[in-house]
Symmetry: C2
Subunit: 337 residues, 2 copies
């Protein structure tokens, strides 16, 4: 294992639910008729996956997984990244492994030879561009401490953890272990709260991890309100200030608010001509922000890279960039190249 004196070889190491997205267009009436809250992420079992899939229209399969998307975004900016996640050795597992490796992200977990199939998220995209996710975890459900490659974690400048994994105790244990490895090696630990319903289900666990381990926190306004059980964003920001060194709060079309113990930096959203599919907006914001942080940019520039990546991802279907994000770095931001 690397020790605290080795320079980090990789910008960002991510851990998350490894999934292939199945994106379908759906009417808001259809989402309502299925009893699903628009914009939410719902965990579903194999039976529900089969029933819901049979009821949805034709799909497009694209590799996904929140933090996996972020590591791909870091690579697209020209950074280096590594991903830890669990898929099975089946057709969709091969798709996931191919897609993430083909853009240069390190992915060395062995594909599971048996057990549940590779996980997938049935994502319903309504005409307003909003996405509602129905996730069958499959093989990802078994991710535990044994899947954490300590050498890989210690070699990363920033360890980035996906809040969705808080739904499972084995995955929480993996987070604790990975965070300890990262801190022992002198690295930063970042976390995304992922989903307000997930925060509500596991509030004390999130708060314990925040207190013990988190240096950089990502949350959207809904998640932050859920964390503190308040209904005023300014109040929630007062509460979160200082909980981590850096807190980046995403506010949709209003951009983001970056909060440190002694500063508040507001960053505008980038304009988007036509929002097609908001899947991955938060994942790609985090990609730009973490890339900037790993390269030592100031917080306003980190946030701007986040806005740029989010704008790219919501202008097309799917949560993996179609453009080379490095080409979208503003000419003025020389330190980002």
């Amino acid at each position: 294992m690397s020790d605290a004196s080795s320079p980090p070889a990789v910008d960002v190491v991510g851990i998350g639910n490894a999934l292939v997205d199945v994106l379908s267009h759906a009417s808001t009436e259809f989402v309502d008729s299925q009893g699903i809250v628009p914009g939410s992420m719902n965990l579903i079992d194999e039976d529900r996956r089969r029933t819901l899939y049979a009821a949805t229209g034709p799909g497009v399969e694209i590799s996904g997984g929140s933090v996996a998307n972020s590591t791909v975004g870091v690579a697209s900016f020209g950074g280096s990244s590594h991903y830890l996640g669990r898929v099975r050795d089946d057709q969709l597992g091969a798709v996931f492994a191919h897609d993430i490796r083909s853009v240069g992200v390190g992915f060395t977990n062995a594909l599971a030879p048996d057990g549940p199939a590779t996980g997938c998220s049935l994502i319903l995209v309504t005409p307003d561009g909003e996405r509602t996710m129905n996730t069958y975890l499959g093989a990802a459900e078994l991710f535990g401490p044994g899947d954490v490659d300590a050498d890989a974690v210690a070699a990363g400048r920033i360890l980035y953890l996906e809040g969705y994994l808080f739904d499972r105790d084995e995955a929480k244990a993996a987070f604790e272990y990975a965070a300890s490895v990262a801190h022992d090696a002198g690295r930063k630990v970042a976390l995304t709260l992922s989903d307000s319903f997930c925060v509500e289900r596991h509030r004390p666990s999130f708060q314990a991890l925040l207190d013990a381990h988190v240096d950089v926190l990502f949350a959207n306004t809904g998640e932050l309100l859920a964390l503190y059980e308040v209904d005023d964003v300014d109040l929630a920001i007062d509460k979160v200030r200082g909980v981590a060194d850096v807190v980046a709060v995403t506010c949709g079309v209003d951009g983001s608010i970056i909060v440190t113990p002694d500063r508040t930096v507001r960053v505008a959203a980038e304009p988007v001509a036509h929002v097609v599919d908001t899947t991955g907006a938060g994942d790609l914001y985090a990609a730009g922000f973490l890339y900037g942080l790993a390269r030592g940019l100031d917080l306003a520039d980190c946030g701007r890279l986040g806005s740029i990546a989010a704008a790219e991802i919501i202008s097309h279907v799917g949560a993996r960039p179609e453009a080379v994000l490095a080409d979208l770095i503003p000419a003025s931001m020389e330190a980002a190249r």
Copy 2:
């Protein structure tokens, strides 16, 4: 089985290679470096599939298969269609079956419980929008006469056959059988030549099927030149005139030429602001044309529906329509509704 006196219940019954497309952006240099002819369809084995996939960038998986795309297009125009093809009972087979059924196309072939995996086509899309296909047939390779549902064929107004299947004797036998069933029931038989290289490999077989069974023929100019071993399109059109009752020759940006024993009808291409991916252009031209023919439209209107569907498909990635094609039928074309 239906007899010749039953009215047809379905507009179009298609037979083809059932495939899932894996679409990736690639540079022209990459296509050249792989020794592939741009714009062609190449049959590859499992080893080559693995090697080529490892070398390509991230992909998007969308159900494909030339004639399968056409039957989906017919359904999108508001017509009824049925598809005969062979996939395995695996993840990509489930994707194929779901996608085609979810738009209302009949698909009743059982998913194979063993044998090769569901076939896929690795499609490299270059910046000019041209697509080059590398097809691993997998389960589709075993399609034979036993997979032809005679009742389904007899119930269709038009039987539509995919020339790509000529690469295999068992599939040719299935064509002979299906064409006989269709004609015995008083139905029309349509064929697409599919690919100039396929025509060159199997010229005598194509000519024999044309002579014996084909009422409606689809070909692009390259395929027609290959069929007659000439290098002048007017000469090839002279030769093909009368070989089938209707011959529709697609000419890319120049639209199409419809040839009957005593008439020649020229149809313009529909304007497209930005060609993204030409995958499926011919398949969707055939969809519009066959839908029009099944509904008794005149040949100029059949060709126009073909142009409209082709324009929709080349304006986005993938060979399955994103728009509802029925919404694109011109207001003046009342008989097409």
